[in-house]
């Protein structure tokens, strides 16, 4: 199969993720869209590793996964905390960064 | 250990000593600081005696690797020019400590911090003049700002914080331009025979630069120095800083730190970029002449005595800059001697003005009046310092000012002629405050001002003695300066203009 097709899928996934981040308000959904983008990047890395016949891309993909896992832990914790204190998971409500 | 490095370390050791004295023993702190600075001054004088004036290369040299991957060394050494400036720095520091015995009071922090800052500053001053590695020079050049910033902002008066920030931003701006030029030099040197920051090796690099590159790098250095010196129109930080700082800090600021600017013009601008220097000479002379006249007019119009002294300095720095770029031995020697003499005459003016202000609790000239009758010794000290500032023959500044004028006249008569008008303006800007503050009837409220006490007399005495002695016998300094000046002129490919007629015909 033409490996470039994987890249098209990755591009599609990334676009969906990016649009999701910008358009959706719910923090959980935004979070999942970020994961989508990360995985799109992972897919690209693996694909290029395949195309070039080297291992670096795959190794990097593992790194990304680890980082993504950590991020999920921290991120979900923050979201849950915010939800507990504000009864809302909308990220537009949490605009305290302004001050 | 190398004598020069030792000299530079001494004040740091003193600072260490001061830092272990308990905070409440203020007298001990002051004594320790004074003893250290005196020791440094004595050591420097010893060095002066051991200096071989006939030898134009660097002496007391020490080179040690610092950051080898960039070719950066700890490299120090002195020639006639830097020796004179180091002498100036270390002679003025103990006088400043003694004269400003109570300056640390009323500051934001303790006396201990004040003296540590002064001592650290002294190390920096020695380092900046002694460095023969451009990167090391830059480090000292910038690091020097830190103690001065805290001295102005922490111990000054009036809008001290604003003045300190203004001073810092101005200097940093120039420093960054210089850093860019230094990186440029580094790139060029690494392409041509290995990365180095050694001033002697770098002075060969102009052969590998296009004229545009050279001009740009020159400007980076020159603007930094023109801010330091200060040359019109980059001068506005000086009056604010001088008016807000304590008198002692002002002495170090105007007397020594600003000299880094004019020193740098000779040491770096001229020797690293000889062709660019020639290109820019006419413009720089114009700015120098404007500084002379402009500073004088502003001094005439000044109402605050500290600002007045700052403006006179702008005028004097114009003379120094003019002498440097006139490219004659007389101009150069005159400019170097002027740096030394200006240090002393400004020190005298500032110290006496400081005492006047601390007694009267005002720095407005019009608030004084008739001091000659109330406080004769103080009035006389101010008068002699003022006479030195207006370059009265027989006092030290005259020798240097006249050398600058004569040296400039032989190559650039128009600039010298305009600058000479400055001597009439000088008479005005000194005699107006003399008349207002010292002469006339005693202004009410001044009848009981105290004259100088013994400590103050001991502080001002040597300064006035140097001013008078060097006026009659400048040879001890000129002998050191002349070979260095002749060397610079020669290495720039210049020779003094011959008399246009007479002997040759």
């Amino acid at each position: 199969m033409n490996p470039y097709n994987y890249l098209y899928v990755a591009g599609l996934l990334f676009t969906i993720g990016a649009i999701g981040v910008v358009v959706r308000r719910n923090a959980i959904v935004v979070f999942m869209c970020i994961e989508l983008m990360l995985n799109a990047a992972n897919l690209t890395l693996v694909t290029f590793a395949r195309i070039n016949g080297t291992l670096e891309g795959q190794v990097t993909a593992f790194f990304t996964m680890v980082v993504a896992a950590c991020e999920v832990v921290v991120g979900l914790a923050i979201i849950v905390t915010i939800y507990r204190s504000r009864r809302s998971a909308s990220i537009d409500d949490a605009s305290l960064l302004k001050r | 250990m190398n004598a020069l490095t030792l000299l530079g370390l001494l004040p740091l050791l003193g600072a260490l000593l001061v830092s272990v004295i308990p905070n409440d023993q203020v007298i001990r702190i002051k004594q320790a600081a004074l003893a250290t600075t005196l020791l440094v001054a004595l050591s420097a004088i010893l060095m002066w005696f051991n200096f071989d004036a006939a030898n134009t290369s660097y002496q007391f040299v020490q080179v040690a690797e610092w950051i080898p991957s960039f070719g950066i060394n700890y490299a120090v050494g002195v020639d006639g020019l830097s020796l004179v400036l180091i002498l100036l720095s270390v002679l003025l520091t103990p006088i400043v400590v003694l004269a400003g015995w109570n300056e640390s009071e009323g500051g934001r922090w303790s006396a201990k911090v004040f003296y540590i800052l002064i001592l650290v500053l002294e190390t920096m001053m020695i380092g900046v003049f002694a460095a023969t590695d451009v990167f090391l020079f830059y480090v000292f050049f910038e690091a020097m700002l830190i103690p001065v910033y805290f001295l102005i902002g922490g111990y000054g008066s009036g809008e001290r914080a604003a003045a300190a920030v203004k001073f810092l931003l101005y200097s940093l701006f120039g420093g960054l331009l210089m850093l860019a030029s230094i990186i440029g030099l580094f790139v060029i040197s690494s392409k041509n025979g290995g990365a180095t920051f050694d001033i002697t090796k770098l002075s060969e690099m102009h052969n590998y630069m296009s004229s545009t590159t050279q001009n740009l790098l020159f400007l980076g250095f020159f603007i930094a120095f023109a801010i330091k010196a200060p040359v019109w129109p980059l001068h506005t930080w000086l009056p604010d800083a001088a008016a807000s700082a304590t008198p002692g800090t002002s002495v170090l600021l105007l007397g020594v730190l600003d000299k880094v600017g004019t020193f740098g013009m000779i040491r770096f601008c001229l020797s690293l970029f000889p062709d660019a220097s020639k290109t820019f000479t006419p413009i720089i002379l114009v700015f120098a002449v404007i500084s002379i006249v402009y500073g004088a007019f502003l001094a005439i119009g000044a109402r605050d005595i500290k600002r007045l002294i700052a403006y006179t300095s702008i005028s004097h720095f114009g003379f120094i800059t003019m002498g440097i770029f006139a490219m004659t031995t007389q101009g150069h020697s005159g400019a170097t001697l002027y740096m030394f003499n200006h240090g002393f005459s400004t020190a005298a003016l500032f110290l006496v003005a400081g005492w006047m202000i601390s007694r009267r609790k005002s720095s407005t000239i019009a608030d004084f009046g008739g001091l000659q009758r109330v406080t004769p010794v103080m009035a006389w000290s101010f008068f002699i310092a003022g006479m030195s500032s207006l370059a009265l023959p027989g006092l030290s500044s005259f020798v240097s000012e006249f050398l600058v004028l004569v040296g400039t006249f032989t190559r650039y008569p128009v600039a010298a002629v305009i600058a000479t008008f400055g001597i009439v303006l000088a008479a005005l800007y000194i005699l107006i405050p003399v008349q207002k503050a010292l002469h006339g009837p005693t202004t009410p409220g001044n009848e009981n001002l105290a004259d100088l006490n013994l400590r103050e007399k001991i502080a001002i005495g040597p300064v006035l003695a140097v001013i008078i002695a060097l006026g009659f016998y400048p040879a001890p300094l000129l002998n050191v300066i002349n070979p260095a000046s002749a060397h610079v002129i020669e290495s720039q490919g210049f020779s003094d203009p011959l008399p246009s007629e007479g002997a040759g015909k």
């Binding site: 910008v22 | 031995t329 023959p393 050398l403 004569v406 010298a416 008479a427 008349q435 006339g440 002997a503």
Partner: protein, 632 residues
Amino acid sequence: MVTSNSLVYLIALPLLGATILLLAGRRADKWGHILATLMSASSFAVGLYQLSAMLGRSTEERAISQKLFSWINVASFQVDAGLLLDQLSICFVLLITGVGTLIHVYSISYMAHDENRRRFFAYLNLFVAAMLLLVLGDSYLNLYVGWEGVGLASYLLIGFWNQKPAYATASKKAFVMNRIGDMGLSFAIMIAFATLGTVSFVGVKEASHNASQTALTAIGIMLLVAATGKSAQFPLQAWLGDAMAGPTPVSALIHAATMVTAGVYLIVRSNFIFDAAPTAQLLVVIVGAITLLFGALVGTAKDDIKKALAASTMSQIGYMVLGAGLGPAGYAFAIMHLLTHGFFKAGMFLGAGSVMHGMNDTVDMRKYGALRKFMPITFVTFGLGYLAIIGVPPFAGFYSKDLIIETAFNAGGAKGIILGGAALLGAAITAFYMSRVMILTFTSPQRWDEDAHPHESPILMWLPMAILAIGSVTSGFLFARGDALAHWLQPVFGEHGAEHSEEHLFSPIVVSAMALVAVAIGVAIAVIKYQLSEVAATAPENVSIFTRIARKDLLQDSFNEAVFMRPGQALTRVLVKGDDVVIDGAVRGIGRTALGAGSALRTSQTGFARSYAALILIGAIALIAGIWVVTQ
């Protein structure tokens, strides 16, 4: 040249005196005046010794020099601290120390009640030292040191009573106007170094033989500027009248006998330059002629006895400058007039001081009158000086002034007639205003206030006056007899010195006769106007416009104020304002711009995470698009 190592004592003694008195402070109050007088007198003694030694040598070896040390030595600019004593400088040395010592003696009594007498004597000694340096320096730069040194002493002494703001202003004015002249001297030295490569008298003299006329003319004109400043010549004359704020002995010593004649010394000393630069020489005579009339006219309108004498000094120095500008024929006569003037003018100033001393320090001559009876010695000594200045034979001024008038007439052509006519007219006016001073003070009916008790001054004051009066009587005859002074000075002026103009417009007898007629007319007018008619005790107000202008010193101050002072002050104000608004404003503007930009951009930070994300996305897309476009 013969070298000596005793010249330095001439200067060192008074300098030592000044230093001791200034450093010792109040401790020296008791003996300060005596020490200062002794120092001045011993300097005079050294001068006499040098004169006798000089007389003992042959003409060629009379000039002696002393090199003290190398002063400024930078590459080709070499100036030694060196002294030169020749026939010209010995005249000055003796005048300065001689008259100086007499005035020291006079001041002991005159200043007896001033609590700062010690300081006064310190300044006097400082002045004597500086003035000696001026005339003994062997190069223009050494002369410059003395030149500004006497300026400093003059500043200190004019402002001796500087608690009065007007006096403080007068001293400042004198210093600043002198500085303008000093600038001329600076230029002269710079031009000399740039063109001739040396600034010593000997070196410049040698080099001037080969130098172009342009260079020499430039140097000459600049030297003339210097001379006009120091000698209160047109157009830098305005300070002298105000300088009378100083104590009267100062006016006698500095502003009559010695310092103000330094300009004449400078011109005569630079004879080799002026001889080779006719244009500069012409300017010298023009300045001299204008000033001698200017001073004389001002003198006619002054009621202040010291200001009248000051105007007279200005006028008499005009004669000297005129003489010096007439070239080799006139140098010796200029110096002769300078020396005789030193005697009679110093004597008259001391006389004026004596009158003021007896009249509660009143200086208004309209409040004097009939003092002849109360102050006989002052009257006689002043009168002898008066006869000398108006040029009655055989008193000193007759010889010296007559010779200048004669030389002026002999300058040739229209120039000679104009200059001679001006000098003659000046002589007539001099006779008028000096007679006016004499009559108003001594012979007219008394007009003093009730509380005045005129009395003769003590011996310490009248003795110097008497000695100077003897000089006023005899010096002219002694100098002129057999051209004694001209022969003595001739080696200084080189071979030109002996050259006398062959063509005489008028024979000496005719000139003398004309001068005497002019003097007689002047005296007669004064007698009719003041002796034979009533004099008001206050100056009349309804006088002609000319009198009013003359009272205001021919508007010299109004002119300076309108042309220099006020525009200068306006410029200063504009620059001070401009520095704050424009230059510092620009700097502050940069700061404000940064702050403003910050607060403007701050509003874009909404705090909405999604808008940040959108911005990041847009940025990334823009970046990729940019790269794509560039690499395409």
